[in-house]
Symmetry: C2
Subunit: 323 residues, 2 copies
């Protein structure tokens, strides 16, 4: 498998569909995930183990994980909102399980009815449980510091609190820490400053960012994070997504536009644009009432454009192994 310079994790099947106004049928989800993998996405967050009565769109996550695991070379990610969700994710056999932990006290209590420190305790419990499993059955665990750049409920989120939560997660035993702009409040200057602070606190465990495009700054924030050393980026096809518990937040950064930005900069994402646009068609056909966003899909590639991989740009060594 060729080396990549930047790793894009598609979160549309989770963050996008969880916040869509319509339900995508399970079979359509499977077809979409297969198409995303065929386009070169090597990591896909396929669902969330939340109670079906809370988020009906995630009721079929177990079945979707099972399908995704049949796709060769794909790292299958599932979200766990608490220890119980983690146990269900374990049973599903997901390769990687992500815990969002809000640095905003108000957002945390509103979202999962736990304080940030109570959430960290659940993550610690998950990491401890993992140690009791046979070596081949241990999933990766990621701790994502949510609302790291601000919160629609409490406004400013102190940077020291973000650093503190990130440190607690790293100490709890997660494999990686990410910074999430859950409600689209980040700006590039803040991104650089905060990424650096968290990097100083947790070192190489800081792996990437989860960005929203609420105010159009998604790609600029991705660029800022890249310049500070981030190499893993969450995004969602068509800009689906948002946070149902944070009013006004809508839309992850658009996978198509993000991949185009990095490839145009000469950075290898492993993504094939023709196949990516076919996956977008499958998304649109699978949930036709839902609006999709993004600029690249309409504009296409510039005349004479060559993908980074095709140019044989040396790039940087891959920063993390992919399954």
């Amino acid at each position: 498998m060729s080396q990549l310079d930047v790793f894009i994790c598609e979160v549309g099947p989770r963050d996008g569909l969880q916040n869509a106004h319509h339900l995508m049928p399970t079979e359509a989800k499977k077809a979409w995930i297969s198409a995303l993998a065929a386009a070169g996405l090597r990591e896909i967050e396929v669902g969330s183990f939340v109670p079906a009565k809370v988020i009906p769109a995630m009721a079929d996550t177990g079945e979707v994980v099972a399908h995704a695991k049949t796709i060769a070379g794909l790292k299958v990610v599932a979200l766990a909102p608490n220890f119980k969700g983690f146990q269900r994710a374990l049973e599903s056999g997901a390769h990687k399980i992500t815990f969002p932990v809000s640095a905003s006290h108000q957002h945390s209590v509103s979202n999962v009815r736990m304080t940030p420190d109570e959430m960290v305790a659940q993550v610690r419990q998950a990491c401890e449980l993992r140690l009791t499993l046979p070596a081949g059955q241990r999933p990766e665990i990621e701790g994502a510091v949510a609302t790291a750049f601000g919160c629609t409920l409490q406004g400013e989120v102190p940077e020291d609190e973000v650093v503190r939560i990130a440190k607690l997660l790293a100490d709890a035993g997660v494999d990686s820490v990410a910074l999430a702009d859950t409600v689209g409040y980040a700006n590039p200057a803040q991104m650089k400053r905060l990424y650096r602070k968290v990097k100083d606190a947790v070192g190489a465990k800081l792996d990437g960012v989860h960005l929203h495009n609420t105010r159009g700054l998604g790609l600029a924030n991705a660029l800022a994070a890249y310049e500070e050393g981030a190499r893993a980026f969450d995004s969602s096809m068509g800009g689906l997504g948002g946070c149902p518990f944070a009013p006004g937040a809508s839309g992850n950064v658009v996978t198509e536009d993000l991949a185009f930005m990095f490839e145009s900069m000469g950075l290898r994402t492993g993504i094939d644009f023709d196949a990516l646009l076919r996956a977008r068609e499958i998304l649109v056909n699978g949930i036709p009432e839902e609006p999709v966003y993004g600029h690249f899909a309409g504009a296409g590639l510039p005349k004479g454009f060559r993908r980074a991989a095709q140019e044989g740009v040396p790039g940087k060594p891959a920063v993390a192994p992919v399954v």
Copy 2:
């Protein structure tokens, strides 16, 4: 007048309306320009002195310039596509006259029926004419290197050619040189590399960038240019604009989103967001059939947001005087 860290030149009344599918009545243009100035935009490109039969939307540019000149503190900019247009712009009394000079040979010939070098000769003629005028009647002259990042007709535009044209313009006597991503081909890595090369060639005369958002990279490119030292940015309200002679190019970077990005980074733009959204309403009412774009207008300011100026952020000294 307070110092600014970043200068935004609103080009919607020229680049936006020139490419709109509908005509905005002259009185509506005047009201819009007044509202833009009231929102804190201190430089507005209000029109283009092209033949009315070529671009009917620009037929009233003389009258619009006359109105704009009545607004205290506003630097009134007009575009001249050639020496004849420059003479008309001079007669109008515009404070600043911008010449676009394509670095793409094919785009230049297609757009103005002159080679890049023939266009440079017209700019030189304009600079020479200016020297014959009384001191108080000499407008600023800017040379904008158009299609500097690529061209829909010829594809790649050699960077050496961009540097050569920029140098010729500086030597011809323009006050400032700008780099224009006329058709939305730029990426942040290219922006940094090319901005640096041109800066090395023309020094402080390199003043800023004119960006399009065709593939969604407008703000990321603006950030990249800022990091290389650019402090002057063209943008258009609602993302109006494009280039009628370059198929597929659509939409300047959105003023509202650009101003929000810089202000959120703690950089003073002088722009008042409430007044900016009122100006957007006036735009929409003035040309109701035309689509407008942008994220900020829908999402609004984050909770607890403070403008850079209100925080008393020291910032950097203003890089250029404003009229």
